[in-house]
């Protein structure tokens, strides 16, 4: 069986599944139960400065995007960082870490952007024996109005500055948690690296309004008739997170910087996708909040089965495997030509492919008598929309034209060699191939 042991920044855990900083990791009671359920590590719910604890709203904190059968597809929240006293959290962390030396325990921290504030809290966190810290530069709601969270994460200079302070006052690994509420994720990642960060973790939540109550005319979740944007997470954000992780993994400036992948991890497959795109481990919040701690069992069994099937012996072998295959558009092979093919035996004659292609694409599907749908090769641009909207798996597939065949749409012979936009005759900036 594949070895799922994870070594992230020298922090070892029995598997690469950590719980992200959020309600599941808010207190000793939860974290002990999470470890018993099999989680490899936790990032404790974000700590704030000493003093009167944070105050949360007392009405609903969450808004949800549902599927038809009330599957939770996306979640948003307006919760702040921990609202329990710093003392209590630190004591609990120390106790739990002592009892679970084989699990990762990371302290998440968010204090004001002042050196004194960091200097004050870091030694106290160090005393707990936690394996590292994560700097919460991500929460996009509430705390950001007070100049913390994403308000820091959106300014690369601040990230670099605070990271430096942390490296100065703290001896163990420093992970910088990034906000996705920014145009180019590579900039804050590079800033973290320049500040000496040992790793970045991403994504934190995305600014969002999940729904509007059309009777009360207020966004959800509603507090006494008003709402505020929240942070979006859960399955719906995975595509955004995957892209951001891959950007950091392949940018020359940040390549090699360890990444903890977060955002919509719900199954082993999601986790594997983060790992192959360069994440050294993954963190999970919404899936645990939706299904309970037990889901980690599926993540563990699924990942190890897949690794066994593919012949990966360890998590390290998996990390970043797909990064070389993430490239710029301009490097995609324009001589790779495919056509949609409809398997008439599988077709159930719903006509969705026809509607999609006829109304919104390239009028490349013919509807013949008897509701027989056929692709017109001379019109098909291979956009894949018919495949995507077909309700039957494998009924419509994309078939590659062999070199030497004629593409009926262009009337040209399919070239055998790779050729991309940079050398294409239509590209004014084309550099002629030598």
């Amino acid at each position: 069986m594949a070895d799922l042991t994870s070594d992230f920044l020298g922090i070892r855990s029995p598997n690469p599944f950590w719980l992200a900083s959020a309600p599941p990791t808010d207190k000793e009671y939860n974290v002990r139960r999470a470890f018993e359920a099999g989680w490899g590590g936790v990032v404790w719910k974000t700590l704030g400065s000493e003093g009167p604890p944070i105050v949360n709203v007392n009405g609903p904190r969450y808004g949800v995007l549902y599927g038809a059968d009330r599957q939770l597809l996306g979640l948003n929240n307006i919760e702040l960082i921990t609202d329990r006293p710093l003392e209590v959290n630190l004591e609990e962390m120390a106790r739990v870490k002592a009892d679970y030396p084989d699990r990762a325990l990371i302290a998440s921290i968010m204090v004001p952007c002042e050196e004194e504030a960091w200097k004050a809290i870091l030694p106290r966190v160090e005393e707990t024996g936690a394996d590292g810290i994560e700097l919460n530069f991500g929460c996009p709601h509430g705390m950001s109005e007070r100049g913390m969270g994403s308000a820091v994460g959106q300014v690369p200079e601040y990230i670099e500055m605070v990271t430096r302070w942390c490296k100065k006052y703290y001896s163990r690994p420093v992970i910088v948690k990034l906000t996705p509420n920014i145009t180019d994720i590579r900039k804050p990642a590079a800033a973290a690296k320049n500040g000496g960060a040992d790793a970045v973790s991403l994504i934190n939540t995305i600014n969002s309004i999940t729904a509007v109550d059309l009777d009360d005319l207020a966004p959800e979740p509603k507090i006494d008739g008003k709402g505020s944007h929240g942070g979006y997470c859960g399955p719906a954000v995975k595509p955004i997170a995957l892209s951001m992780v891959s950007e950091i993994a392949r940018d020359p400036e940040t390549a090699g910087l360890p990444i903890s992948g977060i955002g919509g991890v719900t199954t082993w497959r999601d986790a594997a996708e983060f790992l192959v795109l360069g994440a050294g481990n993954v963190q999970v919040c919404t899936a645990a909040m939706t299904y309970g701690f037990k889901i980690v069992e599926e993540m563990i069994s699924g990942l190890s089965q897949w690794m066994d099937e593919k012949g990966y012996a360890s998590v390290d072998e998996v990390v970043g495997c797909a990064v070389p295959n993430v490239t710029d558009w301009k490097h995609l092979n324009l001589n790779y030509i495919t056509k949609a093919r409809i398997d008439q035996d599988l077709c159930i004659k719903c006509g969705r492919c026809f509607a999609a292609c006829e109304d919104t694409s390239h009028q490349a599907i013919a509807m013949n008598p008897g509701r027989v749908f056929e692709v017109k090769d001379d019109e098909c641009v291979a956009c894949n929309l018919c495949v995507n909207v077909c309700p039957v798996e494998d009924c419509i597939t994309m078939v590659r034209l062999e070199a030497g065949e004629i593409d009926e749409r262009t009337g040209k012979v399919v070239e055998p060699d790779y050729a991309n936009w940079t050398t294409h005759p239509n590209n004014p900036a084309a550099t002629a191939a030598e």
Partner: protein, 444 residues
């Protein structure tokens, strides 16, 4: 012209071969991968799930369904086999409508449960099709254990013991292993010789020797000898005897035990060789009665009547099984008991008397009626036969305490032959497995 459903008497080949093949095909077609995904997606992954509690082997149902949903049916199968090594057979034969699916929160809320049984079959079939056995034996312990009876109880016990590193010898009186999986379960629930394939697959754990044609109590094979020779003995001998009707004329020809009829059917290489009556009457209210009635009908009997002495709600066959029988054309008569079998050499009619279920129990009403019958099948229950001397019995079965401990030291029992628990395949598996754990604990 060959025979047809209208041919009088007890004759074979009432239906053409194609019709027989169709009738005895899979009761539920296996799921395709896509169907399994859609079905799995309906599971809510309930906390402390009621289905799990309702499963006698406590399979982690939410977990295995989630493993199907995430595209790893092999892992799902492992989750199932961890608790129930005969999870493949149980997926086919469990009365899920009375077990896991009955308590599924979606059954309770919508009357439409997650189809746990079919999902279980999808997972176990997937792994078994790869011919993969997901367990390895622990290092040999040097301990030797005798298991008597190669039915679900004995097989589950043997597998668990072998896994723990013990050496197991299984003795069974019959020519094939499998118990009622091989000789009793309705054909359309376990097609394509699944019972034998499952036994072969199970034995791949290693460390189990099966000796068929070895009956306890015969040829010097006694419990005392086994106990003296082994570190422990497990008895999983099922219920070999059949209850009599106690009706006048019961000895007439063409009156048989339903279990024998079913056994012949299960062992027949060619269903067209099996004789069945034109007018078949089956007496009983359990699964055996239903299976005998349904299979008579599927063989081509023109009229099949199942007669039960109490009301519908008292039948031990589930409502689902009763509906299945009705849908196949079996006529079910309630509140009637046989008083006389009429016929000269062979049954011709059966006389019944109506009953009422009053405060003094079941009472005949005095009103009688007759049913035409050229074949009569008894299915009013099995009983323990040939229990070794020296064992304390309770209610006609071997008395056990804890995880199957009998009154004799180092002798355990489980499955149908042991007191307590329902007479179901899955219960037999649970009891065999738990006895193995207890034996292991005692030996280590």
């Amino acid at each position: 012209m060959g025979n047809s459903p209208f041919t009088p008497g007890v004759v074979s080949a009432r239906l053409p071969a194609e019709a027989l093949a169709e009738n005895f095909g899979d009761l539920h077609a296996p799921y395709t991968a896509h169907e399994a995904h859609v079905a799995a997606d309906r599971c809510y992954f309930c906390y402390d799930a009621p289905c799990m509690e309702a499963c006698p082997t406590t399979i982690d149902i939410p977990l295995f369904i989630r493993q199907i949903a995430t595209g790893t049916p092999e892992a799902a199968a492992k989750t199932i086999f961890d608790q129930n090594i005969l999870g493949g057979m149980c997926a086919r034969v469990c009365p899920v409508e009375q077990l896991c699916e009955e308590v599924c929160v979606r059954e309770v809320a919508e009357g439409k449960p997650v189809e746990i049984g079919r999902l279980q079959r999808y997972a176990t079939d997937t792994l078994m099709a790869k011919n993969a056995h997901p367990f390895e034996r622990a290092a040999p312990t040097g301990k030797r254990i005798a298991v008597v009876g190669a039915g679900p109880a004995g097989l589950a016990c043997a597998h668990r013991l072998a896994m723990k590193g013990h050496s197991v010898t299984v003795f069974d009186a019959r020519p094939k292993a499998g118990g009622l999986n091989e000789y009793g379960i309705a054909s359309y629930k376990t097609v394509d010789d699944f019972a034998q394939k499952e036994v072969d697959w199970l034995l791949r754990i290693g460390g189990i020797e099966v000796q068929t044609g070895r009956a306890l109590g015969e040829g010097g094979l006694t419990l005392d000898a086994l106990a003296a020779d082994h570190d422990a003995v497990f008895l999983g001998i099922g219920l070999g005897g059949v209850n009599a009707l106690g009706a006048e004329g019961e000895e007439t020809g063409n009156v048989a035990d339903a279990v024998d009829f079913i056994e012949d059917l299960r062992q027949a290489r060619d269903l067209a060789t099996l004789p069945v009556g034109r007018d078949v009457v089956v007496i009983g209210g359990g699964m055996t009665a239903i299976d005998a009635a349904v299979q008579s009908k599927l063989l081509g009997a023109q009229n099949v009547t199942l007669v039960y002495r109490r009301g519908r709600d008292r039948m031990s066959a589930s409502e689902y099984e009763q509906d299945l029988a009705a849908s196949k054309g079996v006529h079910i008569v309630h509140h009637a008991m046989p008083v006389r079998v009429i016929g000269n050499g062979a049954v011709r009619e059966v006389e019944f008397e109506y009953t009422s279920d009053g405060p003094n129990g079941l009472e005949p009403t005095g009103e009688t009626f007759r049913l035409r019958a050229d074949q009569l099948l008894r299915a009013i229950g099995q009983r323990l036969e040939g229990a070794p001397d020296g064992l304390t019995l309770e209610g006609g079965k071997i008395a056990v305490s804890g995880a199957g401990r009998t009154s004799m030291p180092n002798v355990w029992a489980g499955g149908d032959c042991a007191a307590g628990g329902d007479d179901l395949t899955v219960t037999a598996v649970a009891e065999g497995r738990d006895a193995a754990e207890d034996i292991h604990a005692q030996l280590s």
